[in-house]
Symmetry: C2
């Protein structure tokens, strides 16, 4: 097998970025060099590390001459086999990856934002250069999900992906569920424990999860899906009351990335969205606690699969990067490359209004004859079918909780708009989607 082949020459690897993930990659590359050489079939040589501030003390025991601030010169050397990009963000990461590919290197990246915004440019550059572009670490950290979607399920048809792909928001929602805290308190706790950043926008408003949803949908459905195609709602409007309502119906609130295949009159289409939703306690995703991530995949033949693990952190992300590096390096030794972008299906990407979901709606109403009839009529006008209705309280403090069957999101939101206009409805106190039902 490959590991028995004589090694033609050491493989030259350059690392872009030496923060939390990059330091761990450098450490694993140097500390386990012999083991990696056996697994790859050739020794690996770390030839350069691009950093912004080379003077900064690093905990790595590496020669100072490895470090450079000139990333562009590093990726333009022309003798690199693999470039590992863990800088993040759009630029200069995109320019450096494109330059690396042009100069003959394969690329391993953890850059979800770039892949979600402009993956097509990268995939096309890799295809043109006949080089690998691998990115297991970009989605759900150490959890192997890109490789299973690209390879294990290559003979199957994925119909749906439901993911908890942001650890910060899962930590916050889990804290709200277990302690009854409201969003602000739980966010503060997450910040104190280092699970949320000082500016938590990218996480709590769902931007991070939306980038991952775009990548997952692209992989699952062989269709280019970008960040702009993803409907996005964060968790900052989730209240302790939502969480309590969910608990009453045996559910929990999770921020989900949902990628689905749809059958429309015009043929198959896909959608991708990120929003908080109630899912039943017995759904495998319901028990994903703390900052863990999990991706639940439904496919025609394999049925329901779930992949669970740490979604972030230096060492887990570095593990995913190293796994890719071994595959890409082995491909270099063999003179081949792995599966590239698969976008042959190019299905239509539906807007949020055409996705199918169910709503959990709480209405403040006066407990008077005719209220339920008026409310039911608002649903019927949009052809939305009601699954359950519960009334809590009575007199002027009554609350009507309605859970619908699945319908087009546009019909559901039009129903909510109509309810707000009804004289008998004092207010719509909460609306949340319901997912994961069977």
């Amino acid at each position: 097998m490959t590991s028995d082949k004589p090694s033609p020459r050491p493989l030259k690897v350059a690392l872009l970025g030496c923060g939390v993930v990059g330091s761990d990659v450098a450490r694993l590359l140097t500390q386990d060099a012999d083991e990696l050489a056996r697994r790859i079939g050739a020794p690996v040589e770390l030839v350069g590390i691009a950093v912004r501030r080379p003077g900064r003390e690093r905990e790595l025991d590496l020669p100072a001459e490895l470090f450079t601030t000139d990333a562009k010169a590093l990726v333009s050397r022309g003798d690199l086999d693999v470039v590992v990009e863990v800088i993040g963000g759009i630029e200069p990461a995109r320019d450096l990856i494109l330059t690396a590919l042009e100069h003959g290197a394969s690329v391993v990246t953890a850059n979800k934002a770039l892949l979600a915004e402009d993956g097509a440019t990268l995939y096309e550059a890799a295809a043109k250069a006949e080089r690998d572009l691998f990115y297991e670490a970009a989605v759900a950290g150490a959890i192997p999900i890109v490789r299973p979607l690209r390879e294990s399920l290559a003979g199957d048809r994925v119909t749906r992906v439901l993911g908890i792909v942001n650890g910060t928001t899962n930590f916050i929602l889990d804290a709200m569920t277990s302690t009854g805290a409201d969003f602000a308190e739980a966010l503060e706790e997450a910040q104190a424990l280092g699970y949320a950043e000082a500016d938590p926008t990218a996480d709590v408003e769902g931007f991070d999860a939306a980038a991952k949803a775009a990548i997952l949908a692209s992989l699952a459905f062989h269709t280019r899906v970008t960040m702009d195609d993803v409907h996005r709602e964060g968790i900052s409007d989730v209240t302790a009351a939502h969480v309590a309502s969910a608990a009453e119906r045996g559910s929990v609130v999770k921020l989900l990335a949902i990628c689905e295949q749809h059958e429309t009159p015009d043929g198959p289409a896909v959608s991708a969205r990120v929003h908080p939703a109630m899912i039943p306690d017995d759904h495998p995703l319901a028990s994903v606690r703390g900052a863990f991530n999990a991706v639940f995949v439904e496919s025609e033949s394999a049925g329901q699969l779930m992949f669970y693990g740490p979604g972030a952190g230096g060492a887990p992300t570095a593990s995913a990067v190293l796994g890719d590096l071994v595959t890409v390096a082995r491909n270099r030794v063999d003179g081949v490359f792995g599966p590239g972008e698969s976008s042959h299906a190019q299905l239509e990407v539906l807007g949020m209004g055409r996705t199918r979901t169910a709503y959990h709606i709480s209405l403040d109403v006066a407990d008077r004859p005719g209220v339920l009839a008026a409310v039911a009529q608002a649903f019927a006008e949009q052809e939305v079918s009601i699954r359950t209705v519960h009334q809590e309280g009575h007199g002027d403090d009554a609350t009507l909780v309605v859970v619908t069957h699945v319908a087009d999101d546009a019909a559901l939101s039009a129903t909510v708009a109509r309810l707000r206009d009804l004289d008998m409805v004092r207010g719509v106190s909460s609306v949340m989607r319901v997912e994961g039902g069977r």
Copy 2:
């Protein structure tokens, strides 16, 4: 990328076995031929199906001339690219796989028994022939676990694998947990529902799980581990009382396949075992219900990962076979082959006595002064540390429930033997290992 390359020629595939899994493989191969051709980069042609009884009516709409009873002649044709083996068992499967490799075909197999008994012969034959031998379907059905262990974690060090890898026993234990039924009742229910066979020995006595444990340990630790190296205990002695005891301490009883890396005075070593164990309710494996499977992997960098899904069934297993087939076929198009056996570590495989575990022990005792002292002394003699002791009942009907800290299994079982000899102990009513603690 590969899918854009002109196809040199169709790839010839032969199928050995056309039972539940084989029929689904044949169906997917023919029904999705265009999609597979796009993913592989060349069309796939099913050129023969070896069956035992060709006259049998099959639900597949395939030409009669594809079927043959002469499997040996089929695999000896010399023009096959891939042979898919789903016959199962040792012979003639082994002979047919070896013959296929000798004649230049790559092999995809779902045969756990053969891999666990004599994998080395197959891996060596594949290496010699420079052909692929892929077997994702052999462990945990459709759940991608072989590929993640072989590739995604190739830059990491796996320290422990805990798997629920037999759906029949998980269904029975889950039924016992949810209904309080005893083993015989739950087995009967499983048989009535088709989850257990008329002769359930292979499942309930842990043979099936032990084969999978051998394969998982080999992959995780780069060491040859065979069926004979795996300590095996089934679930036929698990009682409703065990399940109730587990529930009292917030745990559930599961049949686990446990593969571990150990540090010994002589260096690193590994172990593999299958036995029922109590695991805490908040462990991700505890919520694996019914006939589902899950594999929990602990590694140095990635941390804790879990892979969950259907562990058996025609369509899920066929999905795993097809995923392998796409990879192997793509490798044929590229003229390369994938990762082979990785047994370079060749660590010592420890016997059960040297593995580390904890025990939950129930003793029938007389509630008299000195009982606890005598019992505690028996543990101390073997240097086994006690974690908790509870006494239930009193007088002549007292039960002492002892949970230990982790110790060598040999010391724990010697302690149990000693307890049985104590005058003050009327009997050891149950012993079960405890796993999954943190």
